[in-house]
Amino acid sequence: METTSILPLLILGSSFIPGTLILLLREDQSSQRTFLNIFGAVAKVSLIALVFAGYMRGEDYTFVFSLAPGLNFTLRVDLLGLFFATLSAVLWLITTLYAIGYLEGGRHRRRFFAFFSYCITASTGIALSGDVVTFFIFYEFLTLSTYPLVVHLGTDKAVNAGRTYLWYTIGGGTILFLGVVGLSVIAGPIHFGQTEIIASLISENATQLAILFFLMLAGLAVKAAIFPLHSWLPISMVAPAPVSALLHAVAVVKAGAFGIIRLVYDVYGIETAGYMNLLTPLAVFAAFTIIYGSVRALFQDDFKRRLAFSTVSQLSYIALGVAITGVLSSTGAIVHLVHQGIMKITMFFAAGIVAETYGFYKISEMNGIGRRMPLTMGAFAIAVFGMIGLPPVAGFISKWYLGLGAIETGSYWVVLVLLGSSALNAAYFLPIIYRAWFCEPVQELVPRRRSGRLETQALMLIPVVVTGLLSLAAGVFAAVAGSPLSIAREIAERLYLL
């Protein structure tokens, strides 16, 4: 018998309500807006911590609301969901601070922060959804709530990017919708974790189930930016830096990756999916995306564009890890959800700071920037080493588990993909480090656009330093209980022991 708890709903409300209240404020009421933002973000982190502690004690948090007969709106807390929700909440808090600094004196801040809150509501909703239908509702909510953020600047470029973004994501949503409806028709309502439902159906409905799997996968792959459905991602980087940061680290792309994890592990079940041979195509596409994204990143001079293609590549690590059976690769995939998030958000923060403070948007302009902003570029350097997979940064831990997992199952080609990606990552990231730290600036004096005693505005500097240090700590203290790795390992072990 399920107990009903209001806490999951409160977690959603902690960003939804401030978001709505912000809409009711006037544009110039910035202190009230800031208060609401920070209050919501802190409340969310605290609530999730509360739920996390309770969950670890063995308590069950479920909220069910009947939308229609046989159609429930279910919020349920499980470890994987909490893991993702924690990532969203913590990074939202950090990004909010950053955004307040970044947008200081900007236009349409009311709209921005409202949708920013909605966006994170959707993201946590995805994390806490208890069944396929609820997941889909939040997945679409996410699409719509991020659109105003992508077009925030209102320039032609931004509007065009927003259009492309909508085309892709609505298209993906439609495909996902077909899959979800089909699944509901065949299997009835499926709660995450009830893998036995599909397992009992594969003898009769194998073909249908396989088609539905790929339909849903395609729908999710759009947001997860798997080739050939990735093009929206590099284009939507025209959005302001905090949006790109959140988009690339948590909100949109992670929703896709998280959805793939849910689909494979909690809907079909890793055994069924493996038995039906559904994972090989996913592995191939993911592997190709890893290399393709890296190769494209090599040729970008625009800082954020290069980062965007890097996201395309790095995200597919998660899909690749999911596609390989085994505790180790599952651990690698799940932990990369968090690791990629904190590393990539650091990079986008840094890109935003450089652009806002000195007006440098291109990598070729960044000679000697390390001397001018040592903390920003130091944090960026940590993230770069993590992306390459060098220890002791977080990315190494992900790659270590993915590599060992691949060898465990004898998929040596995956190791080659990982190595190739490491080499390419080094090839497109290290030149940035080289320019920033080892080249002399072309112009001695560049006017600074942002004042402040520090190298840039404190509200922008602190987030980047914090996430940079988090990326380092997630690797250095990976063995400590409570680290992302320890949680990911527990999730993976439960998957395979059940």
């Binding site: 809409l23 939308l67 229609a68 046989g70 159609l71 709209r111 409202a114 949708f115 509702i137 679409e140 909510f141 719509l144 659109y147 105003p148 077009v151 509007v159 065009n160 927003g162 259009r163 492309t164 909508l166 085309w167 892709y168 409806v181 509901s184 080739f227 050939p228 093009s231 040729f299 080493f385 997979g389 060098l390 220890p391 002791p392 190494f396 831990i397 790659k399 270590w400 590599g403 060992l404 060898i407 465990e408 190791v415 190595l419 490491s422 080499a423 080094a426 290290l430 080892f438 002399e440 690797g475 250095v476 203290f477 990976a478 063995a479 400590v480 790795l485």
Partner: protein, 585 residues
């Protein structure tokens, strides 16, 4: 605690000396204190510890060979730090130098004390990437180029290394490095895994054919950094090999032959190429490649089996100790001739001469003893052709002497200061001279098992004074010196290049670069073809624009957008959305 301090203190010193002005002034002393835990661990046998909070659960402990190497490493970093503190006193970038110096030091100590794969790899990477900052320090075009080639090779090495580690850890079923050699000995894929490790670490060691970055990068760094690069950090690759090599457990004939022949090729070939150089530091870098070749030979013999690893590996470490101290002495010595005058010059030449003799294995040096260890194993091994190898080894003593006497001659050309000058950094240099290869004879370093095996009941000093061993060490060196002296004396024989090296440093790198240029040109052409192709066929990403840029679609979506952008209407949108959802189900 001491294990933790070994790594933490250098990192702390790096931060203090790089960012705090007071720390910058006393950088030498800060770094010397940071090496003390490492030197302590090198001298005193401490039991290992487990750090459950670090990375994937780390273990720190030492075995005899690594303890010897740690002592060597500690001494070299300490003396080089003192040297650098005075030598780079007026350098504009000394803060940066300190930062990379300290980070590389932490990596170097850390990889030696790590007994587990993840932390070993971590510190290996830390050292590798931190020393990039040392190589590029002077920011000259030469240094930038050397650093770039260094970095590319280092990354290639890392990739091979991580593959080897993945496979080895999987094969051993444990993260402990000590479990790897026995597991590889059992595993049918063992030789392949070892071969990957051989390549991965071979980059650092400067093994043929992966050495070409070394004659560029080691000389590019300032003298104290070159000293630790060529004396200490190069040995990190050797440590890696030792972690992978199931010495005494297997009979891998082909790998053994491969390593012995590559080793001798390096020992002789690098010395000969080094002779064509005109920069004393490049000359020394080639000598390092040559000496690492000799160590490759010892390890290769170990892979043929028959001799227990408990004897070969400490012997290898002792050889490395002698080479490391002497090589660092010579590298630091390259900074002296321009600054030392008068009476001190005599001391300088005596010290440099001792260093040269120690590397060449001259009489009454530590080199004599450590080379004798190698000869003993060559005599004992059942590896076919061991007699030829003994001859080759003697030959390598001649080429090494030629190479290093040429080095002395190159130093000799540097103009001496007129007055009786002596820089402060001669003190650490003298300390390093005192810490030299003779210590390999002392019981503090020499394991009893190895000593008993080599000297039987005679005792070590009897061996050391033995007329025959000293004579057999003396004549190849005399031959080398005499040849060099003759060719320098008589103009018709003096074919040595004076201004430009006969072969550019990095020799066959230039062939690679030429091929690489050609390849890059082709690649660029291919890419531009591909790009124009993509534009004409509307590649995967372009196809979508065709849809989205279509007038009609853009009109529709534009109007949709204006509605959407007015956020007040989003609520209606959601309402309709949910309504559709309900109706559909």
């Amino acid at each position: 605690m001491i294990w933790f301090l070994t790594i933490a203190l250098p990192l702390l010193a790096a931060i203090i000396t790089a960012f705090i002005p007071a720390g910058r002034r006393g950088s030498g002393l800060f770094f010397v204190s940071a090496t003390l835990p490492a030197i302590w661990l090198g001298l005193v046998d401490e039991s290992g510890v487990t750090a459950q909070w670090f990375l994937l659960e780390s273990h720190f402990s030492l075995d005899t060979p690594r303890r010897i190497l740690l002592l060597l490493t500690g001494i070299l970093w300490a003396t080089s730090a003192l040297f650098a503190g005075s030598y780079l006193k007026d350098d504009a970038r000394r803060g940066e130098f300190s930062f990379y110096f300290g980070a590389a030091m932490a990596g170097n100590f850390g990889l030696l004390v790590s007994a587990e794969a993840a932390s070993f790899y971590t510190f290996f990477a830390l050292m590798t990437f931190a020393s990039y900052g040392l190589v590029i320090h002077s920011r000259t075009p030469f240094a930038r180029r050397a650093a770039r080639i260094y970095l590319v090779m280092a990354i290639i090495g890392e990739l091979f290394l991580i593959t080897a580690l993945y496979l080895a850890v999987k094969s051993a079923g444990s993260m402990l490095l000590a479990d790897i050699p026995p597991a590889l000995a059992e595993d049918p894929n063992g030789p392949i895994i070892f071969f990957l490790g051989l390549i991965g670490f071979g980059v650092k060691v400067g093994a043929i054919p992966l050495y070409f970055w070394l004659p560029l990068a080691h000389p590019a760094a300032p003298a104290p950094a070159s000293a630790v690069l060529s004396g200490a950090m190069i040995k990190a690759g050797l440590v890696g090999w030792m972690h992978f090599a199931p010495v005494g457990l297997v009979e891998w004939t082909s790998l053994s032959f491969l390593m012995v022949s590559l080793g001798f090729t390096a020992a002789l070939g690098a010395a000969i190429i080094g002779l064509t150089q005109v920069d004393p530091k490049t000359n020394l870098a080639y000598s390092s490649i040559s000496q690492m070749g000799v160590m490759t030979v010892i390890l290769g013999i170990g892979l043929y089996g028959g001799i227990p690893g408990g004897l070969i590996l400490p012997a290898l470490a002792l050889y490395a100790y002698n080479h490391g101290t002497a090589k660092a002495l010579l590298f630091l010595g390259t900074a002296l001739p321009a600054r030392v005058g008068g009476f001190w010059r005599i001391l300088m030449w005596a010290g440099l001469g001792t260093g040269v003799l120690a590397i060449a294995g001259g009489p009454l040096t530590g080199g004599l003893w450590t080379k004798y260890l190698l000869k003993t194993f060559l005599g004992e091994t059942s590896l076919p052709g061991a007699q030829t190898f003994l001859i080759l080894l003697t030959l390598s003593a001649i080429t090494t002497t030629l190479l290093l006497s040429r080095f002395l001659h190159l130093l000799h050309r540097i103009e001496a200061p007129s007055e009786n000058a002596v820089p402060a950094f001669i003190l650490p240099w003298i300390l390093l001279l005192l810490a030299g290869g003779w210590w390999t004879l002392s019981p503090a370093l020499l394991p009893t098992g190895l000593m008993n095996h080599i000297t039987k009941e005679n005792g070590i000093m009897v061996f050391f004074w033995n007329r025959f061993t000293n004579w057999s060490a003396l004549w190849p060196i005399t031959v080398g010196i005499v040849v060099m002296a003759f060719t320098l004396r008589f103009a018709t024989l003096n074919l040595w290049p004076a201004k430009k090296p006969l072969l550019p440093p990095g020799d066959f790198l230039h062939i690679i670069l030429l091929a690489g240029d050609l390849f890059a040109k082709l690649l660029r052409k291919g890419i531009s073809l591909l790009e124009s192709g993509l534009h004409s066929v509307q590649g995967p990403e372009q196809i979508f624009y065709r849809v989205t840029d279509n007038k009609r679609t853009s009109q529709i979506s534009d109007s949709a957008e204006t509605t959407l952008r007015r956020w007040e209407f989003v609520g209606i949108g959601f309402f309709i959305f949910f309504l559709t959802l309900l109706l559909l189900l």
